[in-house]
């Protein structure tokens, strides 16, 4: 019987707000619950979404009332979250605190408090950051602070891992890469006529989608229209692509501050009939937009993973994307055409993709099945579970970190048993002290204050006065054949 854990996912970003981090947390939690763990989610209160709620599969969400400052991130009040966090953790009997997203102060605070309370912590980084501008420096310092004393870090791509290791000065051994996944069932390509008429005789592999030389080709762009998503690049490239290739058209979905630039470009070049702007679309409608096209164009300037290109490939679209961040790791080369993040190369790459499609050299109808085997949330959950096992000592250090790592002399001196971070206050202080000349001392001060608050809370709100939550009935996993059954 594999050990099961009580896990608290903490992030500022959760439903009802749409987004990649939000659905990552939801999907991961759901699959972890399928594997017999107990998962709760702690986030801040959204408008119309407050208090304690259950989602339909028994996933419990605490919407903690907090002040929101910027793009639904809460105001960083280092200690004010501690009392309520402690209460939730104790009443739910949490063993592992799993924080998400480096811009979420709720997540950073809870990792700090969880370590003070003697819990295992995991952090998942979903985004890439620069090193140069003031905001990045501040975020990186904050990241360094919380990640000085975390048990394990998960990144969504190898590029993201590299970035996080550099930003937070981490030991690369304690950073795992677990990519995002997609729910392939939600991103099916449109049925071929042959399939719809006789389901039972659906061919395997499905017949190729033949494209005539004069058939129109539709290029789809779905992205929030921000600078970092490469909307400027798109604005510059669209007139040239349309000029070079007759019988092509664009569908652009999404909203953002750069939408006005796109509209100006359409006006100037009189492209109203060839560029369709849909405005914001809901996540469940994304598939319906995607299947209208043949090529998915992703001009992003920075991207940690790029779930959307996996979704596009799953819908049977040929993907043209910029070679930045974690994008090259995401899809195999026969599904994508890469471009450098510059106007000329993007135009050339799109031309190449259109030519390849016209020559019927790309079997886009096979993409869905291939993506389905590559990406599944169940797999993500299994790999995340392995991280939990590693940090809680259920699998040995040699298994988790590799044999040579277990014996390496360079292994951090402040680590305790079997590569697991020790909870002793003095060990924790040692880790924080190395963060910088001034920052190290400041961080130590914060940790000491946090510890004192913890002691005061133990006096003011004693543990035995806190009501324990009854558990939602756990699913029982039959390990022998992987079949899942409901409890009793």
């Amino acid at each position: 019987m594999a050990p099961t854990y009580n896990i608290a996912m903490v992030s500022d970003f959760f439903f009802p707000q749409p987004g990649g981090v939000e659905s990552h947390i939801y999907q991961l939690s759901t699959k972890l619950m399928d594997r017999g763990h107990k998962v709760i989610i702690i986030t801040h209160a959204y408008e119309g979404r407050t208090g304690v709620r259950y989602l339909t599969n028994g996933l419990k969400v605490y919407h903690v009332p907090f002040l929101v400052i910027y793009r639904s991130a809460t105001f960083p009040t280092v200690f004010s979250f501690f009392p309520i966090f402690r209460n939730i953790v104790l009443r739910e009997r949490i063993d592992i605190v799993h924080g998400h997203a480096s811009l979420s102060s709720l997540c950073h605070e809870s990792i700090l408090h969880a370590r003070t309370m003697g819990l295992r912590t995991v952090f998942t980084d979903h985004s890439l950051f620069g090193f140069a501008d003031a905001a990045s420096i501040l975020t990186n310092k904050l990241l360094k602070f919380t990640l000085s004393d975390v048990d394990h870090v998960i990144c969504v791509s190898h590029t993201c891992k590299e970035n996080t290791v550099l930003r937070a000065s981490l030991d690369p051994l304690m950073v795992s890469v677990i990519p995002n996944a997609v729910v392939a069932e939600n991103f099916k390509p449109t049925f071929n006529p042959a399939e719809t008429t006789s389901h039972s005789f659906s061919q395997n592999p499905p017949p190729a989608r033949q494209l005539g030389p004069h058939d129109p080709i539709t290029i789809v762009v779905i992205s929030r229209l921000f600078y970092n998503k490469g909307t400027d690049l798109l604005t510059a490239a669209i007139p040239r692509i349309l000029e070079n290739h007759p019988n092509t058209r664009f569908i652009i979905a999404g909203s953002g501050p750069k939408a006005i630039d796109l509209e100006q470009m359409i006006e100037q070049n009189v492209l109203q009939d060839r560029v369709e702007m849909l405005g914001p679309v809901r996540h469940e409608e994304v598939r319906n937009v995607m299947v209208r096209g043949h090529i998915y164009l992703h001009p992003s300037l920075t991207e940690a993973f790029g779930t959307v290109i996996v979704e596009a490939a799953s819908c049977g679209l040929y993907v043209v994307c910029t070679q930045v961040g974690g994008i090259p790791e995401v899809l195999p080369s026969h599904m994508t055409v890469f471009a450098k993040p510059e106007e000329d190369d993007l135009v050339a790459a799109t031309g190449k993709a259109i030519a390849a499609l016209r020559a019927n050299k790309v079997r886009t109808e096979l993409f869905h099945e291939q993506v389905k085997t590559m990406y599944s949330w169940t797999n993500v959950a299994i790999r995340t579970e392995r991280v939990y096992n590693g940090i809680s000592g259920a699998i040995s250090e040699a298994d988790f970190y590799g044999y040579d790592a277990a014996n390496a002399a360079s292994w951090s001196a402040t680590r305790g048993r079997s590569g697991v971070q020790s909870f002793a206050l003095i060990d924790r202080l040692k880790r924080y002290y190395g963060c910088g000349i001034w920052a190290g001392k400041l961080f130590c001060l914060c940790v000491i204050v946090d510890y004192l608050i913890f002691l005061i809370l133990e006096l003011l709100f004693p543990r035995e006065k806190i009501d324990m939550c009854p558990d939602w009935p756990r699913k029982v996993v039959d390990e022998s054949n992987g079949r899942k059954e409901g409890a009793r």
Binding site: V52, P83, I466
Partner: protein, 261 residues
Amino acid sequence: MLTTAPHLYIRRPSPTTAEFTVTTCPPLTLPLRLALLALSTLRLSLAATVLFALYTRFITPPTPTTSPTSTNHHPPFPPHPSPSSPAAYLTPAHLTALLHVLTASAPGQHLARLTAPLPPWLLSAVSGALLYFALLWRLHTTESLLVLRGLGIQTATTAAGGALWGGGGLWGWVVGFGGPATRFIPTEKIRDVLINEAFQGFEVRYYLVVVVDGEDDVVVVFPRLLPGRRIVETVWRGVRGCLYEAPPEGGYGYDGQWKRG
């Protein structure tokens, strides 16, 4: 010593009626009764003292007792009524005489000296607060839920602290828990009775609510005390059992953990 953590009493006069009472009042043992009696006496005498202080300060006696010799045995008022008629003790004249005696007595003089330097507004404020505390302050919070099958449920709250907020007012204090704030909800208006969780202060608490048909807000049962999960679950099970029918085998609940409570 005089209060405890909220605990539950259940009264079931008949199979279709149940009363759940949650109170901070500990079981009434003899020492506790004596202590409560002593406290009441203390509070009443405090109130009397305050009233007397106000009297000496603001309603000056018509003839201040200037000569100390005439005060003790010869009040300048009609002579004492004969002690044979007890009703005569309550005549206004007699009471006035009594007040005069008190004013002239050593504690009375002392009190007058004590209050003399205070400005009138301060004196009124302080004595108002003291009076409020002495007369209207309640020691225990008691909240109850009465369930009558076929009729409905009634919530009642008698809160500790200022009795004016807790319902009942002065009369409530005088007769004990006589005047709680009540609310009756007929059966056909009850859509559901359920347990929920919410943030309160630095905690997440369980509470019992009644969802009432046609109202936006739910009615929280035991809103002052918000007893713990054990009590709330017992009451919830009892209410469902009493209001609708006998609970199924093993009680309501999703699985063993709920059933055990």
